[in-house]
C-alpha cells in the first residue's frame, strides 16, 4: 500500500437545522485501499458520504481530492465534476435501461470495449441485455458497482452496499465486491454499521461515534488497542472492568496490567476470547456462572465475580460450566488499559 492520499478530510463539521451532525472529522484515505466508515445507524455516516460525493456542503472544514480542495467555506465542486463514483444502498439502477446501458451511462459515447470489460469483470456478459427488474439483488449490486467503476473514478463510495441482501448472499457478495475493487486497483470508501464487515474487508477503519471520529486505524489496531471504552464496546464483545492504578500497574477483578496513566481509576479491557477457566483458586478468580449460551462451534458464559462485575467468557463447548456453579476466571492476555 502506498501512502499517497486520495482524499483528505480536514476538520469537517456539518449542521442540519442548528443540529450538529458531524463534528471535527479528519482522516485520510490512502490510494488503492478500502477504507470503511463504521458506526451505528443515524450517527452521521451517510451524511459524511454525501459530503464527500458533493451532494451536501460542509458547514466548516475542508475536503480535498488528490490535493485539490473540492469543498470548503468558499469552494464547492458539484458532484458531476468530482469524479467520485457511488454505489447506493439499493443499487439504484436505471429501470428503463438494460444492464449494458446502465454501465455505459457515465461513459462517453461508443465506449463498447470498456463496457465489455466491466461486464466480464462482474461476470454478467450473458445478461447484458437484461433489465434491472429481471436481476437478483446481488446482480443489481454488481451492475451498480460496474457502472460506478466504468468511468475510472478517483474514488468510489459504497453506502451500505450489502445491507439490502439476505444473510447468505451477503458474505459471498462481500468477497466478490472486495475482489473487484482490488483487481481494478480502485480506491473505495464503504459505509457500514456492521463491524464484522468493516473488519474483514477494509484496510482502514474510521470509527464514527456520535458524529465524531472515535478512532482511525487498521482493523487490528482498532480491535486490539481501542482508544476508548466506547470504541471497545462497539468493535466486538468487550468486558470492561474497573481498575485501580498503583505504582505503574492497574489492578482489576481478574488480574493486573502495566499502566502509565496518571489517573487513579482506569478501565481494563478483556476480550471474552481471552478468558479461560482455571481448575483451582490459585490460578483464577472465583465467580458464579449466571447464564450460558450455546453457539455450536463454541459458547459463552456470563460469570459474576466477587466484585459484582459480570464478565463474558467465550469458551470451547467442553468447558461450558453449568449455571450456578463456581468457576475460577483467568485472563490469558494482558488487559488493555483505557482511560475513558
Amino acid at each position: 500500500m502506498t501512502n499517497t492520499s486520495i482524499l483528505s478530510v480536514e476538520s469537517v463539521c456539518k449542521e442540519f437545522r442548528r443540529q450538529q451532525v458531524l463534528t471535527d472529522i479528519s482522516f485520510e484515505v490512502p490510494e488503492r485501499a478500502i477504507t470503511a466508515i463504521l458506526g451505528p445507524s443515524g450517527e452521521g455516516k451517510t451524511t459524511l458520504l454525501r459530503l464527500i460525493a458533493g451532494f451536501d456542503r460542509p458547514t466548516s472544514g475542508t475536503l480535498a481530492l488528490r490535493g485539490k480542495v473540492v469543498s470548503s467555506i468558499d469552494v464547492h465542486l458539484p458532484p458531476e465534476q468530482r469524479g467520485v463514483g457511488i454505489v447506493p444502498q439499493d443499487g439504484a439502477l436505471f429501470p428503463h435501461l438494460t444492464v449494458e446501458e446502465n454501465i455505459a451511462f457515465g461513459l462517453p459515447r461508443n465506449q463498447y470495449a470498456r463496457v465489455d470489460e466491466m461486464l466480464t469483470l462482474i461476470g454478467m456478459t450473458s445478461q447484458r441485455n437484461s433489465r434491472p427488474a429481471q436481476l437478483s439483488g446481488g446482480q443489481q449490486q454488481r451492475v451498480s458497482l460496474a457502472r460506478a467503476l466504468a468511468p475510472s473514478p478517483e474514488l468510489i463510495l459504497l453506502d451500505e452496499p450489502f445491507s439490502a441482501l439476505d444473510a447468505n448472499m451477503r458474505a459471498s457478495m462481500r468477497d466478490e465486491v472486495t475482489a473487484i475493487i482490488r483487481k481494478t486497483e480502485s480506491t473505495a470508501i464503504i459505509v457500514t454499521h456492521d463491524q464484522e464487515e468493516a473488519m474483514s474487508i477494509s484496510d482502514r477503519v474510521v470509527v464514527l461515534l456520535s458524529g465524531t471520529v472515535a478512532q482511525f486505524g487498521s482493523p487490528q489496531e482498532i480491535y486490539e488497542n481501542p482508544r476508548s471504552s466506547h470504541v471497545a464496546r462497539f468493535i466486538g464483545d468487550a468486558n470492561l472492568l474497573s481498575a485501580i492504578v498503583d505504582k505503574g500497574r492497574a489492578f482489576h477483578a481478574i488480574g493486573s496490567s502495566p499502566c502509565s496513566s496518571s489517573a487513579q481509576r482506569v478501565i481494563a479491557l478483556v476480550r471474552p476470547e481471552h478468558i479461560r477457566l482455571a481448575h483451582d483458586p490459585q490460578h483464577g478468580h472465583a465467580g458464579v456462572v449466571e447464564s450460558r449460551s450455546y453457539f455450536g462451534h463454541d459458547g459463552t458464559l456470563e460469570i459474576r465475580l466477587a466484585t459484582g462485575e459480570i464478565v463474558t467468557a467465550r469458551l470451547p463447548i467442553s468447558e461450558l460450566a453449568d449455571i450456578g456453579s463456581t468457576v475460577f476466571v483467568a485472563s490469558i492476555e494482558t488487559a488493555t488499559i483505557l482511560e475513558n
Binding site: 460525493a53 458533493g54 451532494f55 451536501d56 458539484p78 458532484p79 458531476e80 465534476q81 468530482r82 469524479g83 467520485v84 463514483g85 457511488i86 447506493p88 444502498q89 439499493d90 439504484a92 436505471f94 429501470p95 428503463h96 451511462f105 457515465g106 451498480s144 457502472r147 460506478a148 468511468p151 473514478p153
Partner: protein, 497 residues
C-alpha cells in the same frame, strides 16, 4: 436542496399563470360596478337561497353516496361474494358516464323527475364512485388482523365488520364525500337538464340573459370560494388519513363470510342497474327505435371535432403540466409546492366558471381568438391541468432520489438528468395522462358549449342541443357515440392509472 434547472422553472411559471389568469379576470368583471354592488348581490335573499339549495343538494348526494359506497366497497374487498374484482370494476364504471347523459336518460323516462329529485338521483348515481374507489383502496391497505380478531371474538356479522372497517377508514370516506360535494357543486349537465336552480345553472342563465355579466361573475366567485373551502378541507383530511392505515401492503384481502349473501348481491346489482345499465339501455333503445336523424357524416364530423379539440388540449396540457409535475415531484420546496398548488385552484373552478371567465377574457382582451380553437384549448388546459399535474407529480415522486445522485456522480448536469433519466421514466405516465385529458375534453360540456369555434359541433354539444328540445331521435346516436368512444375508454384508462 438542489436548484431546479431554469428550463423547468420558466414554463412552470407560465403554466401556473394560465390557470390563475382567468380567475383574476373574473374578479375584475365582478367589481365592474363597484364593491357596493358586489355586497348587494351577495346579500340578496335569492343569492342566499341559491347557496342553501346548492349546499343542500351537495350534502344530500354526499351522504347517500357514503351509505351506498361503504358497504359496497367492503363487500368487494372483504366479502366472500363471487366475482369480487368483476363487481369492483362494474361499480367504478358509472364515473365514466357524463352527468348530462345520465340526466337525460332519466328525465326522458319520467319527466316528473325534473327539479331536486332528478338532480339528486342522477348526481348520486354518477358521483358515488368518488367515495367507492378511495374506500376500496383504503380497505385493501387496512391491516386485516383487526377484523380477524373481531371474528375470533364473535363479532363477525357482516354489518359489525362493515362498521368496524368504516371507523378505520373514516378519513378516506370523508375525503371521498368532500370530492362528491365538490363535483356536485361544479356539475353543470345534470342540474341544467333537470332545471334545478343550483349555482352553475343560475350562473349560466344570468350569463345567457345577457343583462348582468357582473352578477354571473359574482356568483361564480362565491361558488369558487365554497369549492376552495371544500378542496382545502379535503387536503387537511387526506393528511390525517394516512396514519390510520397499516404500513405494509396487504397482498390478499381476506374473505369474510357474508351473512345474507342474496341481499348483498341484490344490493350491488341494484346500484349497477340504476347507475350503469339504465342509461345505456335508454340510449340503445333510442337508437334502436328511432334510428338516426343526422347522417353518418354529421356524426363523424362531430366525433372528429371532439377528438381534434381535446387532442390539442391534451398536447398543450401535457406540455405545461410536465414542468410543474417534475418541479413538484423532483425538487420539492416551498416555492415549487406553491407553484403546484396554484394549478389546483382551477380544480375548484367549475367548467362553467372557467367558461364564462374565458368568454369575458375573449370579448375584452383576446378578441382575435374568441370563438376560435385556441381559446377553447386554453380553457381545456385550465380545466384539466390539475389532473395532468397530479398524475405527473406522483409519477415523478416515485423516482428515487438515488437515481438523480448516481447520475450526478456519473457527470450529468441537472438538465441532463431531466433528459436522460426523468423524462424516459415519466413517459408511460405522460401517455396515460394525455389519454385522460383527451377523454375528459370529449365529455366536457359547458366550456365547449360557450367557447367552441362558431359552427363546429362536438358530440357533447350536439347531444346537448337535441336533449334541450327533448329530441330523442336526434340525441340517440350522439349519446351512443359518447358511451362507446368516451365512457368506455375513460373507464379503461383510469383503471390503469
Amino acid at each position: 436542496m438542489t436548484r431546479p434547472p431554469l428550463a423547468l422553472v420558466l414554463p412552470g411559471l407560465l403554466a401556473a399563470l394560465t390557470s390563475i389568469a382567468p380567475l383574476a379576470y373574473l374578479f375584475d368583471i365582478a367589481s365592474d360596478r363597484g364593491l357596493d354592488f358586489v355586497w348587494d348581490e351577495i346579500w340578496q335573499q335569492r343569492t342566499i337561497e341559491l347557496v342553501a339549495r346548492s349546499l343542500f343538494l351537495a350534502a344530500s348526494v354526499s351522504i347517500v353516496s357514503v351509505f351506498i359506497s361503504v358497504p359496497a366497497a367492503w363487500l368487494v374487498t372483504r366479502g366472500d361474494i363471487p366475482f369480487r374484482s368483476g363487481w369492483r370494476v362494474l361499480l367504478a364504471l358509472p364515473l365514466a358516464i357524463p352527468s348530462y347523459l345520465a340526466a337525460f336518460a332519466w328525465i326522458s323516462w319520467r319527466p316528473s323527475l325534473a327539479g331536486f329529485t332528478g338532480a339528486f338521483v342522477v348526481l348520486t348515481l354518477v358521483t358515488y364512485p368518488y367515495v367507492f374507489l378511495p374506500v376500496c383502496a383504503a380497505l385493501s391497505r387496512l391491516n386485516p388482523a383487526i377484523e380477524e380478531i373481531a371474528v375470533i371474538h364473535g363479532r363477525g356479522r357482516s354489518l359489525q365488520l362493515i362498521l368496524l372497517a368504516a371507523r378505520q377508514v373514516r378519513g378516506s370516506i370523508a375525503t371521498g364525500a368532500l370530492l362528491v360535494a365538490l363535483y356536485v357543486l361544479s356539475d353543470f349537465g345534470a342540474v341544467a337538464t333537470m332545471r334545478y336552480d343550483a349555482f352553475t345553472w343560475v350562473i349560466y342563465s344570468s350569463y345567457r340573459s345577457g343583462f348582468n355579466p357582473s352578477r354571473a361573475a359574482i356568483l361564480a366567485i362565491v361558488l369558487v370560494l365554497i369549492a376552495l373551502a371544500l378542496l382545502f378541507g379535503e387536503k387537511i383530511l387526506r393528511g390525517q388519513n394516512e396514519s390510520l392505515l397499516s404500513a405494509r401492503s396487504v397482498d390478499a384481502n381476506p374473505r369474510h363470510r357474508v351473512s345474507i349473501k342474496p341481499v348483498a348481491i341484490a344490493f350491488l346489482s341494484t346500484i349497477i342497474v340504476f347507475a350503469l345499465a339504465f342509461p345505456i339501455w335508454r340510449v340503445v333503445t333510442w337508437v334502436y327505435r328511432y334510428g338516426s336523424e343526422d347522417s353518418m357524416a354529421d356524426i363523424a364530423t362531430a366525433l372528429w371535432h371532439s377528438v381534434f379539440f381535446s387532442g390539442l388540449a391534451a398536447l398543450a396540457t401535457i406540455q405545461l403540466a410536465l414542468p410543474i409535475g417534475i418541479l413538484a415531484g423532483r425538487y420539492p420546496s416551498r416555492s415549487t409546492t406553491l407553484l403546484e398548488q396554484s394549478t389546483y385552484v382551477t380544480h375548484a373552478l367549475p367548467g362553467i366558471v372557467i367558461a364564462i371567465s374565458m368568454v369575458f377574457l375573449g370579448v375584452r382582451l383576446l378578441e382575435p381568438i374568441y370563438l376560435r380553437t385556441p381559446l377553447l384549448v386554453i380553457a381545456y388546459v385550465a380545466l384539466f391541468l390539475p389532473v395532468a399535474v397530479g398524475s405527473i407529480r406522483s409519477a415523478a415522486e416515485q423516482i428515487p432520489d438515488s437515481l438523480d445522485e448516481v447520475s450526478r456522480s456519473l457527470g450529468l448536469s441537472q438538465w441532463g438528468i431531466v433528459r436522460r433519466v426523468t423524462l424516459p421514466l415519466l413517459a408511460p405516465g405522460l401517455l396515460s395522462a394525455g389519454a385522460l385529458v383527451v377523454l375528459a375534453g370529449m365529455k366536457e360540456l359547458p366550456a365547449t358549449m360557450l367557447l367552441r369555434p362558431t359552427g363546429s359541433e362536438t358530440l357533447a354539444t350536439r347531444l346537448w342541443t337535441y336533449t334541450s328540445v327533448s329530441d330523442y331521435a336526434g340525441a340517440g346516436p350522439y349519446a351512443l357515440a359518447i358511451i362507446v368512444f368516451v365512457s368506455i375508454p375513460t373507464a379503461i384508462a383510469s383503471r390503469r392509472l
